[in-house]
Symmetry: C2
Subunit: 269 residues, 2 copies
Amino acid sequence: MNKQQLIDQIHQKKSFLCVGLDTDINKIPQELLALEDPVFEFNKQIINKTAEFAVAYKPNTAFYEVYGAKGWQSLERTIQYIKVNHPDIFIIADAKRGDIGNTSANYAKAFFNTLNADALTVAPYMGQDSVEPFLGFEDKWVILLALTSNKGSQDFQYLNVGERMLHQQVLQTATTWASSEKMMFVVGATHPEELGEIRKMLPDYFFLVPGVGAQGGDLQAVAKNGLNKDCGLLVNSSRGIIYASNGFDFADRAAEEAQKLQRQMAAVL
Amino acid sequence: MNKQQLIDQIHQKKSFLCVGLDTDINKIPQELLALEDPVFEFNKQIINKTAEFAVAYKPNTAFYEVYGAKGWQSLERTIQYIKVNHPDIFIIADAKRGDIGNTSANYAKAFFNTLNADALTVAPYMGQDSVEPFLGFEDKWVILLALTSNKGSQDFQYLNVGERMLHQQVLQTATTWASSEKMMFVVGATHPEELGEIRKMLPDYFFLVPGVGAQGGDLQAVAKNGLNKDCGLLVNSSRGIIYASNGFDFADRAAEEAQKLQRQMAAVL
């Protein structure tokens, strides 16, 4: 998917919601466990009910790898299901990969060819040649970690490197690697002021903003500080939506929570 | 595996060799492709012939994920095969994971329980709560990226943060998270001088040293700068060993290359 297609979808749905598919077998309705692939079945029902309110889905690979090869199969089925039934939706594999060039080239094939995701989250620590192999795929995206939503973001990301903090240096350097047509950045909702600073630095790039909901981030503050002329935001909620209920009504309750966020988004767009 | 068991194995085999299982279906003997799981078959033959010269194997997950769920099955089989046939050998899943705590906890289960690896490489950018979930498993290890072997290590890892460079700050901070009984660090063979500095900073920790062979690092320089009283090094070679030949003699040729390195290691120990 290219940038204009993503922007068009945002305006059409009046939403910049990304639903995180962090599907944990211990948190889904127990009735699903009798099925052959409970994780996929859960995702399918969540997708069916929330697709009208969301522009992106973001499965986090950890929640699939924990079940080994079987988990990867659930992930493959989930992405395939979205591609077939909702081809307009942006799919982010939240995998936080990154390695030497030879290895990153294999991760790129794994996520963009084998899995057919539209975007992959990538860790910046290993520098340019660890990121570049992901940039050579048409209409596929790198979403580079800049300022993450967790407490540990304080450990290194705020260190002063010359006149800037490390996360600002990562942003500055990475914009020389790829334009806003190929790269986005992760900026946590738990840092709304820094989000405003980063928006000033990078007026054109999309930001993937995790941390709204269970992690305490606030949608209004994110919108106020992060919106640009194209919207420029994908705001993720995972647990707050998919675990709104663990009863038979889980998908309907997920849709309600997704719709609540979508309405708030429509109001600020 | 605990630290003393690893040290004992190193002294017994007179080796600190780690063999990287970066198995690429395009580089293995074509005869293997007719088998049901060519990647596992290749690994099995490499393991059978090199186990006497190596103390560790390091499958890199990218080379398995590229084949999707089937690739994960090859990875599971490979680790299981080593565990059953060579229970004394240290298994490193080179996956460079790291995410918010809730997610890292799932990666930890994926690699330490489901896959049963002894150690996992972890990226430091997201800080302490992204690393801690990996530290709560008995006799399992975190190998944190500090100074990587690739060109991109220049982009951020050498930035000055106060009186130190970023990679030194990562080392300094991370040693407050875990002792040398639970944590090791990645220090690339392509930076022998910095390896010496790092050894002075951290006399007791093991370092996983990639970059000998195909990436240009030199074993003598690594040993000179990195050895400590326990050895304290695991030196990895991947392509230089496993692709020594792509003919029917691939496993024998891999053994020869592994033995060459082992003999050099015996001489410096």
